[in-house]
Amino acid sequence: MERDLTFNKMQTPSGTKDYLPAEAKKKRYLEEQIISLFSEWGYQEVITPTFEFFSALSIGTGSELQEKMYKFFNRQGEIMALRPEMTAPIARLVTNRFSGQEIPLRLSYLANVFRYEAPLAGRKREFYQAGVELIGCEESLADAEIIALAIEALERVGLKNFSLDIGQVDYFMGLMEKMELEPEVKSKLKKCLTKKDFVALENLVSNTALSDSEQEAILSLPKLRGGKEIIKQAKELIVNGKSQAALESLEDIYQQLEELGVAEQVTLDLSTLRGLDYYTGIVFEGYTNDLGFTICGGGRYDNLLGEFGEPNPAIGFSVGIDRLILSLENQGVKLPTVEEDTFIFYAKDYRQQAIELARRLRQKGEQVVLEVKERSVAASIDYAQQKEMGRIIYLGTVDEINNWDYQLETLFGQEVVIIE
């Protein structure tokens, strides 16, 4: 019969997925590893609402992300949205709940976020993030701490061959401030750089009235990628104070990273801007050869908290759990799979003993499945074998199971039959 391909309510919506036991286990494992690393560094977990006022979620995010939010009305007619990322909710929470408290604040989260995007491998409409925000520090050591923590998180879960690109958005912003260009052209230039559309970048720049050296300063951005040496190269290209300061901060942070012993995993790249509008200083993103998308990203956002009412410098990052699973699998890293259960079934008269045995084994930390269905011995054994139980235990007389290979054993003073 021809399959009916029209809508059916058993499907999940495009861009969403079910995590079946094996995958749910991997996800749980990664999240536990990462969140415990965060707490080792003194970051405390917070949980924010899945949906909030659209106006709060859109602060600092720019129109592109706002268009991707799932929006709806509540019964008072106010616009709500599902959170598309976690930085704005945390900024809102800090202003709302931690007003006047001692800074710095170190907060972490595990959250599902929602964006209406074209679904792709590694890009879904509901996905999971783990991340941290460090609030109240403008020191470069804070930037270095966040970058080092991002690197350690990826190492902790066993990711190999990864690297982090670090940029400084102020370098580009400084260039823009000094150039006489329409705001529209500036935002187009930024978009070209973010998307790495260098053909359009060149066309745009050559159609402006900028001087040769100004054009050169913009067009050389993609080439400013590498180690410490690019800072020196960049310094020769610019004359404005803001860009100069950005380069000095980058230099400073790089030195801190060297001291923290993580500079090897880091590439400096002045064309890294990231899409979100709220970034003000350092930005970074992590990637590996084994996945065509970035795995983690973050940066400094010193003005965002001010927009919520209480100015404070801040920096943070998040890592995509789904993308992390994909890259680890592409690298062949073994993640824990579902552990094997012990199955206990019993003859009618042995029910009490079976319950007691299950209780004791569970106390020891074993995963025990106790038969609850009334069915034949053959049906119970068949079920246990289909489910690939690690051990099948029978309580009762051996006459019942003569058709199977078995062994006798004593567990907690109780004689049991182990089906082979």
Binding site: S163, K195, K196, D197, V199, Y287, N289, F293, T294
Partner: protein, 218 residues
């Protein structure tokens, strides 16, 4: 070292692209797009070629199945993929245009009657462009022989690529607006751009040099 995977578009761009890559030493032996094998040369240490349908090249590159690829700008505009666009190769120049049958007697967008059907294999570009011009259309997606649509009464106008205009003229169609200029672009996966930066820069710079040399020779 793993070979750099390059997606090449089969069809009209194939020969000039291969020629260009041969000039800079990336293609060495014979490469033919009617080869039955779709993945070539992968035992080589340096480069491996994936022969893809032109419209699929951006997809291969976005996912990282290919590190780099060559794709027409027309295809990129329609596909809206998240890939880096490094270089305009100037090959396969053409224009995306709006065209109508001659007998309609229309020479600009303003003169178009209301309620139109437009046949195209660039539905996204067509709808976006015409919408921006304030023209309401019903987009009919076709996968080829677009110019036939008005003749058989499927649509009143078309959005398609043209290079010399011959096909349009043969089918009694006249261009009334240009949407975009197109030519072949060197595109790169967002992550490969970072992880294989030097190798990709080498190709990009090589191509750029041979482009400049061509300009000087002409």
């Amino acid at each position: 070292m793993k070979p750099l995977k390059i997606a090449l578009p089969k069809g009209r761009l194939f020969d000039p692209v291969v020629e260009m890559l041969r000039e800079i030493g990336v293609v060495k032996g014979d490469l033919s797009d009617d080869s039955r094998k779709l993945v070539l040369n992968c035992e080589d240490q340096e480069y491996c070629f994936i022969l893809a349908k032109a419209v699929d090249v951006p997809t291969y590159v976005e996912y990282g199945a290919a590190d780099i690829g060559i794709s027409g700008k027309d295809v990129l505009l329609e596909a809206q993929k998240n890939v880096c666009e490094l270089l305009d190769l100037g090959l396969g120049s053409c224009r995306l245009v709006v065209a109508v049958p001659e007998e309609l007697g229309v020479s600009s967008l303003e003169e178009l009657p209301t309620l139109l059907r437009v046949a195209t294999s660039y539905p996204r570009v067509a709808e976006e462009f015409l919408n921006q011009q304030g023209i309401q259309v019903e987009v009919i997606e076709l996968n080829g022989s677009i110019e036939l649509a008005p003749t058989v009464g499927l649509a009143e106008m078309i959005v398609d690529i043209t290079s010399t205009g011959t096909t349009l003229r043969k089918n009694n169609l006249v261009e009334i607006a240009e949407i975009a200029k197109s030519s072949a672009r060197l595109i790169v996966n967002q992550v490969s751009y970072k992880t294989k930066f030097e190798r990709i820069q080498k190709i990009s710079n090589g191509l750029k040099r041979s482009l400049n040399a061509d300009v000087e020779n002409n």
